[in-house]
Subunit: 242 residues, 2 copies
Protein backbone atom coordinates (compact mmCIF):
# COMPACT_ATOMS: atom_id res chain seq x y z
CA UNK A 1 0.00 0.00 0.00
CA UNK A 2 1.43 3.37 -0.93
CA UNK A 3 0.88 6.53 1.07
CA UNK A 4 -2.41 8.35 0.57
CA UNK A 5 -2.43 11.87 -0.79
CA UNK A 6 -5.22 13.91 0.77
CA UNK A 7 -7.81 16.08 -0.87
CA UNK A 8 -8.37 19.48 0.74
CA UNK A 9 -11.63 18.21 2.17
CA UNK A 10 -10.07 15.13 3.73
CA UNK A 11 -7.20 17.15 5.19
CA UNK A 12 -9.78 19.42 6.79
CA UNK A 13 -11.73 16.43 8.12
CA UNK A 14 -8.64 14.86 9.71
CA UNK A 15 -7.68 18.19 11.27
CA UNK A 16 -11.15 18.56 12.73
CA UNK A 17 -11.14 15.02 14.06
CA UNK A 18 -7.77 15.52 15.77
CA UNK A 19 -9.18 18.52 17.61
CA UNK A 20 -12.66 17.11 18.26
CA UNK A 21 -13.65 15.75 21.66
CA UNK A 22 -12.72 12.35 20.22
CA UNK A 23 -9.21 13.31 19.10
CA UNK A 24 -8.85 15.50 22.17
CA UNK A 25 -5.84 17.46 20.91
CA UNK A 26 -5.60 21.18 21.53
CA UNK A 27 -4.42 23.52 18.78
CA UNK A 28 -1.49 24.41 21.06
CA UNK A 29 -0.30 20.81 21.09
CA UNK A 30 -0.68 20.15 17.38
CA UNK A 31 0.93 23.42 16.40
CA UNK A 32 3.84 22.80 18.76
CA UNK A 33 4.57 19.40 17.25
CA UNK A 34 3.99 20.60 13.68
CA UNK A 35 6.22 23.65 14.12
CA UNK A 36 8.94 21.55 15.74
CA UNK A 37 8.83 19.14 12.77
CA UNK A 38 9.15 22.09 10.35
CA UNK A 39 12.16 23.48 12.22
CA UNK A 40 13.80 20.05 12.41
CA UNK A 41 13.26 19.50 8.68
CA UNK A 42 14.92 22.80 7.82
CA UNK A 43 17.78 22.04 10.22
CA UNK A 44 18.21 18.57 8.69
CA UNK A 45 18.77 19.97 5.19
CA UNK A 46 20.25 23.43 5.86
CA UNK A 47 22.87 23.49 8.61
CA UNK A 48 23.05 26.55 10.80
CA UNK A 49 26.75 26.84 9.99
CA UNK A 50 26.12 27.34 6.26
CA UNK A 51 22.60 28.78 6.42
CA UNK A 52 22.45 30.75 9.68
CA UNK A 53 19.78 33.31 8.67
CA UNK A 54 16.26 31.97 8.19
CA UNK A 55 13.41 34.14 6.95
CA UNK A 56 10.16 32.65 8.21
CA UNK A 57 7.25 33.81 6.03
CA UNK A 58 3.93 33.41 7.80
CA UNK A 59 0.40 33.60 6.45
CA UNK A 60 -2.66 34.73 8.38
CA UNK A 61 -3.97 31.24 9.26
CA UNK A 62 -2.87 28.18 11.20
CA UNK A 63 0.01 27.70 8.79
CA UNK A 64 1.37 31.02 10.00
CA UNK A 65 1.07 29.68 13.55
CA UNK A 66 3.17 26.66 12.60
CA UNK A 67 5.69 29.14 11.20
CA UNK A 68 5.85 31.08 14.47
CA UNK A 69 6.47 27.87 16.42
CA UNK A 70 9.13 26.84 13.90
CA UNK A 71 10.81 30.25 14.18
CA UNK A 72 11.09 29.85 17.94
CA UNK A 73 12.57 26.36 17.68
CA UNK A 74 14.99 27.54 14.98
CA UNK A 75 16.06 30.26 17.39
CA UNK A 76 16.60 27.58 20.05
CA UNK A 77 18.69 25.58 17.54
CA UNK A 78 20.99 28.60 17.08
CA UNK A 79 19.66 30.02 13.81
CA UNK A 80 18.99 33.72 13.42
CA UNK A 81 15.32 33.69 12.50
CA UNK A 82 13.38 36.70 11.22
CA UNK A 83 9.61 36.66 10.80
CA UNK A 84 7.66 38.22 7.97
CA UNK A 85 3.96 38.10 8.87
CA UNK A 86 2.21 40.93 7.03
CA UNK A 87 -1.32 39.94 8.09
CA UNK A 88 -1.15 38.56 11.62
CA UNK A 89 -4.11 36.29 12.38
CA UNK A 90 -6.54 37.54 15.00
CA UNK A 91 -6.62 34.36 17.11
CA UNK A 92 -5.25 34.80 20.61
CA UNK A 93 -2.81 31.92 20.07
CA UNK A 94 -0.87 33.88 17.42
CA UNK A 95 -0.26 36.68 19.90
CA UNK A 96 1.13 34.22 22.43
CA UNK A 97 3.31 32.51 19.81
CA UNK A 98 4.60 35.85 18.64
CA UNK A 99 5.34 36.94 22.23
CA UNK A 100 7.38 33.75 22.64
CA UNK A 101 9.42 34.76 19.60
CA UNK A 102 9.77 38.32 20.91
CA UNK A 103 11.18 36.84 24.11
CA UNK A 104 13.79 35.03 22.00
CA UNK A 105 14.70 38.38 20.39
CA UNK A 106 13.48 37.04 17.07
CA UNK A 107 12.64 40.07 14.96
CA UNK A 108 9.21 40.33 13.35
CA UNK A 109 9.08 42.77 10.44
CA UNK A 110 6.39 45.41 10.95
CA UNK A 111 3.10 44.44 9.25
CA UNK A 112 2.87 46.29 5.98
CA UNK A 113 0.77 46.26 2.86
CA UNK A 114 3.82 46.62 0.64
CA UNK A 115 6.69 44.17 0.33
CA UNK A 116 9.69 46.50 0.73
CA UNK A 117 10.61 45.04 4.10
CA UNK A 118 10.31 41.54 2.66
CA UNK A 119 12.68 42.45 -0.18
CA UNK A 120 15.23 43.79 2.30
CA UNK A 121 14.90 40.77 4.56
CA UNK A 122 15.38 38.35 1.66
CA UNK A 123 18.66 40.07 0.85
CA UNK A 124 19.84 39.35 4.39
CA UNK A 125 18.70 35.70 4.54
CA UNK A 126 20.19 32.32 3.64
CA UNK A 127 17.04 30.20 3.47
CA UNK A 128 13.26 30.76 3.51
CA UNK A 129 10.69 28.83 5.52
CA UNK A 130 7.44 29.19 3.61
CA UNK A 131 4.53 28.99 6.06
CA UNK A 132 2.23 31.27 4.09
CA UNK A 133 -0.62 29.12 2.79
CA UNK A 134 -1.74 25.70 3.99
CA UNK A 135 -4.31 23.10 3.03
CA UNK A 136 -7.20 25.52 3.34
CA UNK A 137 -5.78 27.87 0.69
CA UNK A 138 -8.07 28.76 -2.17
CA UNK A 139 -6.90 30.84 -5.14
CA UNK A 140 -6.43 33.59 -6.07
CA UNK A 141 -3.37 34.75 -4.14
CA UNK A 142 -4.31 38.06 -2.54
CA UNK A 143 -2.19 41.13 -1.70
CA UNK A 144 0.44 41.43 -0.38
CA UNK A 145 1.17 37.76 -1.07
CA UNK A 146 0.60 38.17 -4.82
CA UNK A 147 3.72 40.35 -5.01
CA UNK A 148 5.51 38.45 -2.22
CA UNK A 149 5.58 35.06 -3.95
CA UNK A 150 7.44 36.27 -7.07
CA UNK A 151 9.84 38.21 -4.82
CA UNK A 152 10.62 35.11 -2.79
CA UNK A 153 11.03 33.04 -5.97
CA UNK A 154 13.36 35.53 -7.61
CA UNK A 155 15.53 35.80 -4.50
CA UNK A 156 17.15 32.53 -5.52
CA UNK A 157 17.23 31.43 -1.87
CA UNK A 158 16.51 27.81 -1.01
CA UNK A 159 12.91 27.39 0.15
CA UNK A 160 11.42 24.95 2.62
CA UNK A 161 7.64 24.87 2.26
CA UNK A 162 5.22 23.74 4.93
CA UNK A 163 2.49 21.29 3.88
CA UNK A 164 1.75 22.78 0.46
CA UNK A 165 4.02 25.20 -1.40
CA UNK A 166 2.41 28.63 -1.24
CA UNK A 167 0.39 29.48 -4.32
CA UNK A 168 -0.15 25.82 -5.25
CA UNK A 169 -3.66 24.47 -5.48
CA UNK A 170 -4.01 21.90 -2.69
CA UNK A 171 -5.19 19.30 -5.19
CA UNK A 172 -3.93 20.42 -8.60
CA UNK A 173 -0.45 21.52 -7.59
CA UNK A 174 1.30 24.36 -9.35
CA UNK A 175 -0.84 24.10 -12.49
CA UNK A 176 -1.26 27.88 -12.62
CA UNK A 177 2.48 28.41 -12.24
CA UNK A 178 2.03 31.19 -9.67
CA UNK A 179 3.35 29.19 -6.72
CA UNK A 180 6.76 28.87 -5.12
CA UNK A 181 9.11 26.10 -6.24
CA UNK A 182 10.56 24.86 -2.97
CA UNK A 183 13.63 22.67 -2.67
CA UNK A 184 12.22 20.96 0.39
CA UNK A 185 8.68 20.19 1.49
CA UNK A 186 7.48 19.15 4.92
CA UNK A 187 4.01 17.64 4.68
CA UNK A 188 2.04 17.56 7.92
CA UNK A 189 -0.07 14.56 9.00
CA UNK A 190 -0.16 13.21 5.42
CA UNK A 191 0.83 14.69 2.04
CA UNK A 192 -1.78 16.53 -0.02
CA UNK A 193 -2.94 15.55 -3.50
CA UNK A 194 -1.27 18.57 -5.09
CA UNK A 195 2.27 17.51 -4.13
CA UNK A 196 2.04 13.95 -5.48
CA UNK A 197 4.70 14.71 -8.08
CA UNK A 198 6.78 17.12 -6.02
CA UNK A 199 10.36 16.73 -7.24
CA UNK A 200 12.37 17.98 -4.26
CA UNK A 201 13.26 16.53 -0.89
CA UNK A 202 10.03 15.56 0.83
CA UNK A 203 9.56 15.01 4.55
CA UNK A 204 6.55 14.07 6.64
CA UNK A 205 5.85 15.41 10.14
CA UNK A 206 2.99 15.43 12.59
CA UNK A 207 3.66 12.22 14.45
CA UNK A 208 0.38 12.31 16.34
CA UNK A 209 -1.96 10.35 14.07
CA UNK A 210 -3.21 7.25 15.87
CA UNK A 211 -3.26 3.82 14.21
CA UNK A 212 -7.05 3.96 14.41
CA UNK A 213 -7.20 7.24 12.50
CA UNK A 214 -4.60 6.01 10.03
CA UNK A 215 -6.78 2.98 9.30
CA UNK A 216 -10.05 4.92 9.25
CA UNK A 217 -8.67 7.23 6.56
CA UNK A 218 -6.50 4.57 4.82
CA UNK A 219 -3.45 6.82 5.15
CA UNK A 220 -0.72 4.13 4.87
CA UNK A 221 1.78 6.37 6.63
CA UNK A 222 5.47 5.41 6.52
CA UNK A 223 7.26 4.31 9.69
CA UNK A 224 9.07 7.16 11.45
CA UNK A 225 12.63 6.18 12.46
CA UNK A 226 13.29 5.77 16.19
CA UNK A 227 11.96 8.71 18.13
CA UNK A 228 12.28 11.18 15.27
CA UNK A 229 9.46 13.66 14.65
CA UNK A 230 10.08 13.63 10.89
CA UNK A 231 10.59 11.00 8.20
CA UNK A 232 11.89 11.50 4.68
CA UNK A 233 9.62 10.19 1.93
CA UNK A 234 10.97 8.53 -1.22
CA UNK A 235 11.37 10.91 -4.17
CA UNK A 236 8.37 11.06 -6.50
CA UNK A 237 8.74 8.59 -9.36
CA UNK A 238 7.38 10.89 -12.02
CA UNK A 239 8.29 14.35 -10.81
CA UNK A 240 6.19 17.26 -11.93
CA UNK A 241 7.87 19.44 -14.52
CA UNK A 242 8.60 22.68 -12.71
CA UNK B 1 30.41 28.46 34.82
CA UNK B 2 28.82 25.18 35.83
CA UNK B 3 25.12 24.46 35.58
CA UNK B 4 22.88 25.81 38.31
CA UNK B 5 20.89 23.44 40.49
CA UNK B 6 17.53 24.92 41.42
CA UNK B 7 15.88 25.20 44.78
CA UNK B 8 12.21 24.21 44.86
CA UNK B 9 11.31 27.88 45.13
CA UNK B 10 13.35 28.88 42.11
CA UNK B 11 11.98 26.00 40.04
CA UNK B 12 8.48 27.22 40.90
CA UNK B 13 9.40 30.79 40.00
CA UNK B 14 10.79 29.80 36.59
CA UNK B 15 7.72 27.68 35.89
CA UNK B 16 5.46 30.60 36.75
CA UNK B 17 7.45 32.99 34.60
CA UNK B 18 7.30 30.65 31.60
CA UNK B 19 3.51 30.62 31.85
CA UNK B 20 3.06 34.28 32.80
CA UNK B 21 1.92 36.87 30.27
CA UNK B 22 5.62 37.61 29.83
CA UNK B 23 6.70 34.03 29.08
CA UNK B 24 3.46 33.48 27.16
CA UNK B 25 3.67 29.67 27.14
CA UNK B 26 0.57 27.59 27.70
CA UNK B 27 0.66 24.53 29.92
CA UNK B 28 -0.26 22.48 26.82
CA UNK B 29 2.90 23.60 25.04
CA UNK B 30 5.29 23.11 27.94
CA UNK B 31 3.85 19.73 28.86
CA UNK B 32 4.05 18.58 25.23
CA UNK B 33 7.73 19.45 24.95
CA UNK B 34 8.53 18.11 28.43
CA UNK B 35 6.72 14.83 27.82
CA UNK B 36 8.38 14.43 24.43
CA UNK B 37 11.80 14.94 26.06
CA UNK B 38 10.96 12.29 28.68
CA UNK B 39 9.90 9.78 26.02
CA UNK B 40 13.00 10.50 23.92
CA UNK B 41 15.26 10.06 26.95
CA UNK B 42 13.76 6.66 27.75
CA UNK B 43 14.02 5.65 24.08
CA UNK B 44 17.66 6.79 23.98
CA UNK B 45 18.68 4.48 26.81
CA UNK B 46 16.18 1.61 26.58
CA UNK B 47 15.51 0.42 23.02
CA UNK B 48 12.02 -0.75 22.17
CA UNK B 49 13.50 -4.01 20.89
CA UNK B 50 14.93 -4.98 24.28
CA UNK B 51 12.54 -3.03 26.52
CA UNK B 52 9.21 -2.98 24.68
CA UNK B 53 6.89 -2.67 27.68
CA UNK B 54 6.98 0.62 29.59
CA UNK B 55 5.02 1.20 32.76
CA UNK B 56 4.37 4.93 33.09
CA UNK B 57 3.67 5.82 36.72
CA UNK B 58 1.89 9.15 37.02
CA UNK B 59 1.27 11.33 40.04
CA UNK B 60 -1.70 13.64 40.55
CA UNK B 61 0.04 16.86 39.49
CA UNK B 62 1.72 18.36 36.45
CA UNK B 63 4.39 15.68 36.60
CA UNK B 64 1.66 13.13 35.95
CA UNK B 65 0.65 15.21 32.92
CA UNK B 66 4.21 15.02 31.59
CA UNK B 67 3.91 11.25 32.09
CA UNK B 68 0.70 11.06 30.05
CA UNK B 69 2.31 12.99 27.18
CA UNK B 70 5.38 10.74 27.39
CA UNK B 71 3.19 7.62 27.33
CA UNK B 72 1.55 8.80 24.11
CA UNK B 73 4.87 9.55 22.42
CA UNK B 74 6.27 6.19 23.59
CA UNK B 75 3.23 4.58 21.97
CA UNK B 76 4.03 6.50 18.77
CA UNK B 77 7.63 5.24 18.98
CA UNK B 78 6.37 1.64 19.03
CA UNK B 79 6.58 0.86 22.73
CA UNK B 80 3.73 -0.83 24.55
CA UNK B 81 2.99 1.71 27.26
CA UNK B 82 0.73 1.12 30.24
CA UNK B 83 -0.29 3.91 32.61
CA UNK B 84 -0.62 3.65 36.36
CA UNK B 85 -2.27 6.84 37.62
CA UNK B 86 -4.03 6.02 40.86
CA UNK B 87 -5.06 9.61 41.67
CA UNK B 88 -5.87 11.37 38.38
CA UNK B 89 -5.54 15.14 38.73
CA UNK B 90 -8.75 17.10 38.38
CA UNK B 91 -7.50 19.62 35.79
CA UNK B 92 -9.26 19.39 32.44
CA UNK B 93 -5.93 18.98 30.65
CA UNK B 94 -5.33 15.57 32.26
CA UNK B 95 -8.62 14.31 30.88
CA UNK B 96 -7.63 15.39 27.38
CA UNK B 97 -4.15 13.88 27.69
CA UNK B 98 -5.65 10.63 28.97
CA UNK B 99 -8.17 10.58 26.10
CA UNK B 100 -5.26 10.93 23.66
CA UNK B 101 -3.68 7.85 25.26
CA UNK B 102 -7.01 6.00 25.15
CA UNK B 103 -7.14 6.73 21.42
CA UNK B 104 -3.71 5.10 21.10
CA UNK B 105 -5.10 2.02 22.90
CA UNK B 106 -2.69 2.67 25.74
CA UNK B 107 -4.15 0.96 28.77
CA UNK B 108 -4.63 2.95 31.97
CA UNK B 109 -4.98 0.78 35.06
CA UNK B 110 -8.19 1.54 36.94
CA UNK B 111 -7.66 4.08 39.74
CA UNK B 112 -7.40 2.21 42.99
CA UNK B 113 -6.39 2.86 46.55
CA UNK B 114 -4.43 -0.37 46.74
CA UNK B 115 -1.39 -1.31 44.68
CA UNK B 116 -2.37 -4.79 43.46
CA UNK B 117 -2.77 -3.63 39.87
CA UNK B 118 0.61 -1.90 40.07
CA UNK B 119 2.26 -5.10 41.30
CA UNK B 120 0.76 -7.06 38.40
CA UNK B 121 1.74 -4.41 35.88
CA UNK B 122 5.34 -4.31 37.13
CA UNK B 123 5.57 -8.05 36.52
CA UNK B 124 4.60 -7.46 32.89
CA UNK B 125 6.94 -4.49 32.24
CA UNK B 126 10.53 -4.00 31.10
CA UNK B 127 11.17 -0.45 32.28
CA UNK B 128 9.42 2.13 34.47
CA UNK B 129 8.95 5.82 33.71
CA UNK B 130 8.59 7.52 37.08
CA UNK B 131 6.42 10.62 36.67
CA UNK B 132 4.96 10.49 40.16
CA UNK B 133 6.35 13.48 42.05
CA UNK B 134 7.92 16.64 40.67
CA UNK B 135 9.56 19.75 41.99
CA UNK B 136 6.55 20.73 44.09
CA UNK B 137 6.68 17.50 46.10
CA UNK B 138 6.76 17.87 49.85
CA UNK B 139 7.17 14.89 52.17
CA UNK B 140 5.72 12.70 53.52
CA UNK B 141 4.82 10.29 50.69
CA UNK B 142 1.10 9.64 51.00
CA UNK B 143 -1.00 6.57 50.14
CA UNK B 144 -1.03 4.80 47.77
CA UNK B 145 2.40 6.06 46.78
CA UNK B 146 3.93 5.09 50.14
CA UNK B 147 3.41 1.43 49.26
CA UNK B 148 4.00 1.98 45.52
CA UNK B 149 7.56 3.31 45.79
CA UNK B 150 8.94 0.21 47.62
CA UNK B 151 7.05 -2.01 45.15
CA UNK B 152 8.60 -0.24 42.17
CA UNK B 153 12.05 -0.39 43.79
CA UNK B 154 11.82 -4.08 44.58
CA UNK B 155 10.67 -4.93 41.04
CA UNK B 156 14.29 -4.65 39.95
CA UNK B 157 13.18 -2.95 36.73
CA UNK B 158 15.25 -0.11 35.32
CA UNK B 159 13.73 3.24 36.25
CA UNK B 160 13.74 6.53 34.36
CA UNK B 161 12.72 9.37 36.68
CA UNK B 162 11.30 12.69 35.56
CA UNK B 163 12.82 15.84 37.10
CA UNK B 164 13.27 14.51 40.63
CA UNK B 165 13.21 10.83 41.58
CA UNK B 166 9.94 10.19 43.39
CA UNK B 167 10.25 10.32 47.16
CA UNK B 168 13.39 12.48 47.06
CA UNK B 169 13.36 15.85 48.73
CA UNK B 170 13.69 18.44 45.94
CA UNK B 171 16.65 20.03 47.74
CA UNK B 172 18.06 17.36 50.05
CA UNK B 173 17.85 14.40 47.72
CA UNK B 174 17.24 10.90 49.03
CA UNK B 175 18.42 11.72 52.55
CA UNK B 176 15.47 9.89 54.06
CA UNK B 177 16.10 6.83 51.92
CA UNK B 178 12.42 6.43 50.99
CA UNK B 179 12.79 7.44 47.34
CA UNK B 180 13.34 5.50 44.15
CA UNK B 181 16.88 4.88 42.90
CA UNK B 182 16.54 5.50 39.17
CA UNK B 183 19.11 4.46 36.59
CA UNK B 184 18.29 7.46 34.44
CA UNK B 185 17.08 10.95 35.27
CA UNK B 186 15.61 13.52 32.92
CA UNK B 187 15.71 16.97 34.52
CA UNK B 188 13.34 19.53 33.04
CA UNK B 189 14.34 23.17 32.41
CA UNK B 190 17.27 22.88 34.83
CA UNK B 191 18.31 20.23 37.39
CA UNK B 192 17.14 20.56 40.97
CA UNK B 193 19.37 20.91 44.03
CA UNK B 194 18.47 17.44 45.30
CA UNK B 195 19.98 15.63 42.29
CA UNK B 196 23.35 17.36 42.38
CA UNK B 197 25.11 14.10 43.20
CA UNK B 198 22.85 11.80 41.19
CA UNK B 199 25.04 8.88 40.09
CA UNK B 200 23.14 7.57 37.06
CA UNK B 201 22.74 8.75 33.48
CA UNK B 202 21.45 12.30 33.61
CA UNK B 203 19.69 14.13 30.78
CA UNK B 204 18.24 17.61 30.51
CA UNK B 205 15.08 18.49 28.57
CA UNK B 206 12.74 21.44 28.22
CA UNK B 207 14.44 23.31 25.40
CA UNK B 208 12.25 26.36 25.73
CA UNK B 209 14.15 28.55 28.16
CA UNK B 210 15.14 31.80 26.48
CA UNK B 211 18.66 33.24 26.75
CA UNK B 212 17.15 36.14 28.68
CA UNK B 213 15.62 33.82 31.29
CA UNK B 214 18.79 31.75 31.41
CA UNK B 215 20.77 34.88 32.21
CA UNK B 216 18.20 36.31 34.62
CA UNK B 217 18.34 33.12 36.70
CA UNK B 218 22.07 32.40 36.04
CA UNK B 219 21.21 28.90 34.85
CA UNK B 220 24.36 28.23 32.74
CA UNK B 221 22.53 25.59 30.72
CA UNK B 222 24.59 23.26 28.51
CA UNK B 223 24.30 23.49 24.71
CA UNK B 224 21.79 21.06 23.23
CA UNK B 225 23.20 19.20 20.22
CA UNK B 226 21.72 20.08 16.80
CA UNK B 227 17.95 20.04 16.94
CA UNK B 228 17.73 17.52 19.77
CA UNK B 229 15.21 18.12 22.55
CA UNK B 230 17.48 16.47 25.13
CA UNK B 231 21.13 16.72 26.14
CA UNK B 232 23.10 14.34 28.34
CA UNK B 233 24.82 15.96 31.31
CA UNK B 234 28.27 14.88 32.51
CA UNK B 235 28.20 12.33 35.33
CA UNK B 236 28.30 13.83 38.81
CA UNK B 237 31.86 14.12 40.10
CA UNK B 238 31.09 13.00 43.61
CA UNK B 239 28.09 10.73 43.25
CA UNK B 240 25.79 10.36 46.19
CA UNK B 241 26.10 7.05 48.00
CA UNK B 242 22.87 5.24 47.17
Amino acid sequence: MSIRYLTAKLAQQIDEELMSTTGAFSLDQLMELAGLACAQTLATVYSREKYPRVLVCCGPGNQGGDGLVAARHLGMFGYKATIWMPKPGSKEIYQRLKAQCDNMKIQTLAPSSDTDSLRDALARSDVVLDAIFGFSFKPPVRAPFDTALPLISSSGLPIVSVDIPSGWDVEKGNAEGVGLNPDVLISLTAPKEGVRHFAGKHFLGGRFVTKAMEEKFSLSLPAYPGFSQIVELPRAESPQKL
